[in-house]
């Protein structure tokens, strides 16, 4: 990082250092808070802040799972399809007129297990194709998006004859109506992922595989299994996000989370997780999620058009991806 100053010029060496460090997302969050606080009405009110946090929970869970896949040097574009399919599977188990277990007290736990199982299965298939068949991750998960997204729509029409399924059990809907419960679930999952990535053998292996799969294999890392594990984790986390979304919107629908994909990858990248693998932290991703939530909410309060919000987000994500490339180039220049 000694040559960081050469890119920004001598005067902006400290700026370059912040950009190069892991605190870029946090700095952005503070900047957004400072910028919106005086102009956006009610931005700092406790009600609004709670609103921001609760609204960001699904994104937090999704981006956390994505971080793990990114660290291994892969990418999981199929998370939105997992959300849709898991939502339908859960609803078909638990509720509506056709729910297999409707009315049963066990409907809620079985339904959630089925949703998580759906995510794990799709994650496993993704991981299998990437690790064992050596296919490019973006292609595999893009195809998974089509296939399982389509399956979700087909399933809901075929099995229920409707577009979306209502009448989910009250115990399940509590996850949506009681924000503290949802927050507990999401935070627990995030902390678990943080510990997994930072403190366990598997976590170090995720990093090693992302840095250099050949060197990892020669050092005895079971690269194939580690890769599959990353996609399974991502699938389960996407399914957990589906639980939160489905409960909050009180319907099972194949269309849940359709617009979230870029936010998911963007949040991880804004935080500082590298698109080329080996570098990433769940804490950084939390910053990225928070920033996107602050940005969306602040612009919303200012009555800015949704489209402009999308454009602004896109711009920030682009800058973050550029930073990622910069860091890599700095690293290469230093050689």
């Amino acid at each position: 990082m000694t040559s960081a100053g050469t890119i920004g010029g001598r005067g902006s060496r400290s700026v370059a250092r912040i950009l190069g460090s892991g605190h870029f997302g946090l700095v952005l969050c503070l900047m957004a808070a400072v910028a919106f606080a005086p102009v956006a009405p009610g931005f700092l009110s406790s009600g609004n802040l709670a609103n921001i946090l609760v609204g960001a929970l699904p994104l937090l869970v999704l981006a956390t799972g994505q971080t793990i896949v990114l660290v291994t040097g892969g990418i999981d574009l199929s998370v939105t399809a997992v959300i849709g399919l898991a939502s339908i599977v859960g609803a078909l188990v638990m509720g509506g007129e056709h729910g297999w277990m409707r009315g049963s007290p066990m409907a809620m736990p079985v339904g959630i297990a089925a949703m998580l199982g759906t995510g794990a299965t799709i994650g496993f298939l993704n991981g299998f194709c990437v690790a064992r068949l050596r296919m490019p991750a973006f292609m595999v998960t893009l195809v998974a998006t089509m296939t399982f997204g389509g399956l979700a729509v087909w399933l809901v029409k075929q099995a229920a004859g409707v577009e979306s399924i209502y009448g989910l059990p009250a115990s399940f809907l509590a996850l949506g109506s009681r924000p503290a419960l949802a927050a507990c679930l999401a935070v627990l999952a995030t902390v678990a992922a943080h510990l997994l990535l930072g403190r366990t053998l598997l976590g170090r292996w995720f990093h090693a595989v992302g840095h250099n799969p050949r060197a990892s294999l020669i050092s005895g890392v079971p690269v194939g299994r580690v890769t599959v594990a990353a996609y399974v984790v991502s699938g389960i986390f996407a399914a957990l996000a589906s639980v939160l979304i489905t409960a909050r919107l009180e319907t099972g629908s194949p269309n849940h989370g359709k617009a979230l994909l870029l936010d998911v990858i963007g949040a991880a990248v804004i935080g500082g997780t590298s698109l080329s693998g080996g570098r990433g932290k769940v804490v950084w991703t939390v910053h990225g999620v928070l920033f996107l939530a602050l940005l969306g909410n602040g612009m919303d309060l200012l009555n800015v058009s949704d489209f402009l919000v999308t454009i602004a987000k896109g711009a920030v994500i682009l800058v973050a991806a550029l930073l990622d490339v910069w860091r890599r180039r700095l690293a290469i220049d230093a050689e």
């Binding site: 403190r199 053998l201 090693a208 250099n212 990892s216 005895g220 890392v221 080996g278």
Partner: protein, 523 residues
């Protein structure tokens, strides 16, 4: 034509094709070059030697226009030369032949030769005149003595021929000054001879050349003059005939390095060739893989350093990869401690096998990861607690810290530094430390000292011997005959995938060893 630091400025030879005068260059306050002066005359080859970090690469980057000096001047044919980028270097007739070649493997020879300046069709229209391209390429290939169709994709050429293409590219750009940076590291001895002949031919054509290499024997043989760099200063310069190997080494390291290879006495036990050995730690019997290796059988005793020598492509590295489970083998059997060895690398590591690959950057290290992470990677599992395989990072830091000292890693480097920031020698010590932490029963080293300076080489040899003295079996694969002769108890010579000779310390005969590497095996 060579001016040492003392008489700089007084001997500005007008005939020098390139002349450095009092070049000073530092990075973020750390001086890398401290007033370097020397010249290269047309039709001369100057050998530039020095340990890694002595400033050779920085000097070349200055000439190539990638960096600018803080003080001092570079002259090209007597005129001040201040390149702003690689294009200026090219325009000034300066070309580089790098260790890692800058060719596009997916393009043809001809396309690589003229990538910057394709012969155009009539009227300067943006399409390529294929006929002219072929004719010009053929002319260039003739000059470097490469008998290949210019349409051949570069990826189909062996390393030595790729280098010839690189040189042809330099000639095609009308280069008058060519810099070779470690050109022989991936060449077989036949290819090396061909390269040397070509260098001699270019010298006769009046091209000035700088030849950077750790292979001091080559430098002394090939070069007219030698410049020795140490810590950014010229510490010795003069006609190559006024140096010998030992003097170069002591100039480079700044101290008397009495012995590169630590003393190794002939082993008293197990001296009878072919005699049955009790309790070998590694047994390889009849291992074959079509087109790769043929009927390889040998045994490795605990405490033994076994060398495997042979030319590039003889199957040495391939054999190592088979031993480690990276590549399959058709027939034959490998036993470790009497039990059959199979499964993926992770399984073999747990059984006590370790493998230092020849490709340090590509397979040995995670370049962007920290020193600690790299050193601990192969043994992380032993520092975990179930159920979640929770990592005891304090224990990891502790053992890595101890190993850092044991392999004498540069004390300046911090554990959290990326291994990319280390010199080649220190990087190799990280890889070696990784495997020593695993306390292997058998350690396979493939080209352990490639691209490493002499000080680090000597330290690595000592580590190898210490490991063997503690009862491990060590296999050293090397294309440098001197190296295996210097450190091994026994040497197997391979050719075309088969073992063609076996020699024991006390009975090492370089000529016979070379003959075994060159002569076809008996059917």
């Amino acid at each position: 034509m060579i001016a040492s630091t003392e008489d700089r400025g007084t001997t500005a030879e007008p005939s020098d094709a390139v002349r450095f005068d009092g070049i000073v260059k530092g990075f973020t306050g750390v001086p890398v070059l401290k007033g370097v002066s020397f010249g290269v005359a047309a039709g001369k080859v100057v050998g530039l030697v020095g340990e890694n970090g002595a400033g050779k690469s920085t000097l070349m980057n200055l000439l190539g226009g990638n960096l600018r000096p803080d003080a001092g001047t570079i002259r090209r044919d007597g005129r001040p030369y201040t390149p702003q980028g690689p294009d200026d270097a090219r325009a000034a007739g300066i070309a580089f032949v790098h260790q890692e070649l800058n060719l596009f493997p997916n393009l043809s020879i001809a396309e690589n030769l003229f990538l910057r300046d394709f012969p155009r069709g009539p009227g300067r229209l943006p399409w390529i005149d294929r006929g002219a391209l072929r004719a010009k390429s053929e002319a260039l290939l003739l000059q470097v003595g490469l008998d290949r169709d210019p349409a051949t994709p570069v990826e189909r050429l062996p390393a030595g021929e790729r280098q010839l293409v690189e040189i042809a590219k330099a000639l095609g750009a009308d280069a008058r000054v060519i810099l070779f940076d470690e050109p022989t590291t991936s060449l077989s001895s036949v290819e090396r001879e061909r390269l040397f002949a070509l260098v001699a031919k270019l010298r006769d054509r009046g091209i000035a050349m700088v030849y950077i290499s750790h292979a001091l024997g080559d430098v002394l043989r090939l070069c007219d003059d030698v410049v020795v760099l140490r810590d950014g200063e010229v510490v010795g310069a003069g006609a190559a005939t006024s140096f010998d190997h030992d003097r170069l080494v002591s100039l480079m390291v700044g101290r008397q390095l009495t012995q590169l290879y630590p003393e190794r006495l002939p082993r008293t036990h197990d001296v009878a060739p072919g005699a049955p050995v009790r309790g070998p730690v590694l047994e390889v019997s009849g291992v074959s893989q079509p087109g790769i290796v043929r009927d390889i059988s040998f045994q490795l005793v605990a405490g033994e350093v076994l060398g495997i020598s042979g030319l590039m492509g003889a199957g040495r590295s391939e054999l190592a990869r088979i031993l480690f489970g990276l590549d399959p083998h058709g027939t034959g059997e490998i036993r470790l401690d009497g039990e059959r060895l199979d499964g993926p690398p992770g399984e073999r590591i747990r059984r006590g096998l370790a493998f230092l690959t020849e490709d340090r950057r590509g397979e040995g290290l995670c370049m962007e990861a920290s020193i600690t992470d790299n050193m601990a990677l192969a043994t992380l599992r032993s520092h975990t607690r179930t159920p979640a395989r929770w990592l005891d990072s304090r224990a990891v830091d502790l053992v890595v810290g101890l190993m850092r000292d044991a392999v004498r890693l540069s004390p300046k480097a911090k554990g959290a530094d990326a291994v990319r920031t280390l010199s080649g020698g220190n990087q190799q010590k990280v890889v070696l430390g990784k495997w020593l932490l695993a306390a292997p029963k058998v350690l396979v080293l493939d080209e352990p000292t490639r691209g490493i300076d002499i000080g680090a080489k000597s330290e690595i040899y000592q580590l190898v011997h210490r490991l063997a003295d503690r009862g491990a079996g060590v296999i050293v694969i090397s294309s440098e005959l001197e190296e295996v002769v210097g450190i091994c108890d026994r040497v197997l010579v391979m050719r075309h995938g088969a073992i063609t000779g076996e020699f024991r310390r006390g009975g090492f005969d370089r000529e016979k060893m070379l003959a075994a590497a060159l002569v076809a095996p008996k059917p």
